[in-house]
Subunit: 276 residues, 2 copies
């Protein structure tokens, strides 16, 4: 996602030079060749010492480890933001940083299952929501710089409290991942030999996010446990009700269950959500 | 789906005249105007009396009611097929029809959530799997005629036993619908006000099939209870294991669970499945 952001900013004529940081020499070479970045290095601390805006585009728990390193090396007044999938733990850690740096939580809603610079896409953020979580006590101008960055990449900014963000993304991103994954496991165990041959767009779409990077999702789950545990219990209740109605052949209850779900989906997709 | 089939056959230059049957005057007029059909009527029994091939494109339990009516009115040698989503009950009913008609179970894997002739699409079947379930004791030429019809519409035919078909579609179609629906209900109850604003392609795709027609899905569920109940139990087990690992903060088990699911999804999508 860091590579996509650099490409998007260059495509939009973003005025500041961009230095990419990656441990992978292949990623650094590819980013330079694509002119996504003006420079590339493996040394985060060194490049941060001359940065005015730092974007951390790593998994959540790596961001938590990087924040104090970046804050220690960055010049006075540097804005530090991130692209991490959960915000409560990151914004708590940001609030503990020394006052000489200006942290702002961020999360663009545009993940894809593929990763690495070869999957980078300058249009990844276009029209997508980008959540910004201001950190208490930080100058308002810091959030304004992150907003300008997000808008330069084509995203539409929503300002949210970290807890509200994490509950919302548990519902519309982390729970879908859990459901897609459970579906994939059960379908492969139980569908028989014909399942793969018959799989069409419905299975492809419903299971797509199960292809997400497990290392990234592990961090997401471990830093969003409360909302996720609650929603997994909600799903167990919904599927239990469906199972009971199906076992009993209760047509009225099955129809009610299905109609409730369809209305819920219409509601979530209709009001500001992505198009159908 | 009947409208889409008529459009696809006309686009492919299918040689026989096609008569559409619908209770809706609006649907009949629209199909005639689009030249999807050569004639249109509300009277199934009357049109069947001069048909050589009858395609039942109604929900499963309507097909079960229509089969004896069609068999009673059809000329000797008429081939009767269907587009129903489950095959075991339909093929059992087909096996009971008088020997003067030639029934063949069929199921194109290309549903969409929208219905009615206004959603009809001549390219709906192109490249999609179309399951054919021959009925014991019926002349082989009957399945050949259905295969020719499916291939004229652009589909690729798979011949399956009804039980294998129903198990496979439980895994790759009916279970995904149950999961998408449970997800939509829980996300709308638990996600808070920001959920709709942040919903992006992941939620859209994972929940898409929750928009399916409940009346159609009710018939599907009631005629595929055995495999579905077993797979709902499988999902409860998978999500229960995830919940336990998450509650315990068991990183190794979470990672194993996620990697197993990703491998299962790769396997199902890789071998003959739809492209990613």
């Amino acid at each position: 996602m860091g590579g996509s952001l650099a490409l998007a900013l260059k495509a939009a004529g973003y005025p500041s030079p961009i230095t990419g940081v990656s441990r992978s020499a292949g990623t650094r070479a590819a980013a330079l060749q694509a002119r996504a970045v003006d420079g590339a290095t493996a040394d985060l601390a060194a490049v941060v010492s001359s940065a005015s805006l730092v974007v951390l585009a790593t998994p959540v728990r790596t961001i938590l480890r990087q924040l104090p390193v970046v804050a220690a090396e960055a010049p006075v007044g540097t804005v530090i933001t991130d692209l991490g999938s959960t915000k409560a733990e990151i914004c708590s850690a940001m609030a503990e940083l020394p006052a000489r740096v200006h942290p702002v939580g961020g999360h663009p809603m545009c993940g894809k299952e593929s990763s690495g610079f070869e999957a980078a896409d300058a249009s990844l953020f276009r029209g997508k929501p980008w959540a910004i979580c201001p950190v208490a006590g930080v100058v308002a101008g810091a959030a304004d710089r992150v907003r300008a960055l997000a808008e330069a990449a084509g995203a539409r900014v929503l300002v949210l409290e970290p807890a509200a963000h994490d509950r919302a993304v548990a519902a519309i991103s982390h729970l879908p991942y859990a459901m897609a994954s459970a579906l994939a496991s059960v379908a492969s165990q139980s569908g028989g030999r014909a399942a793969s041959a018959l799989a069409s767009s419905g299975f492809r779409d419903t299971s797509r996010v199960a292809a997400s990077d497990p290392e990234m999702m592990l961090d997401v789950f471990l830093t969003n446990r409360g909302p996720l545990l609650e929603m997994l219990d909600g799903v167990a209740g919904e599927l239990g009700a469906l199972r009971a109605a199906l076992a009993a052949g209760d047509e009225a209850e099955l129809l009610r269950w299905m109609e409730t779900a369809r209305a819920a989906r219409d509601m979530l997709q209709g009001a500001g959500g992505a198009p159908n």
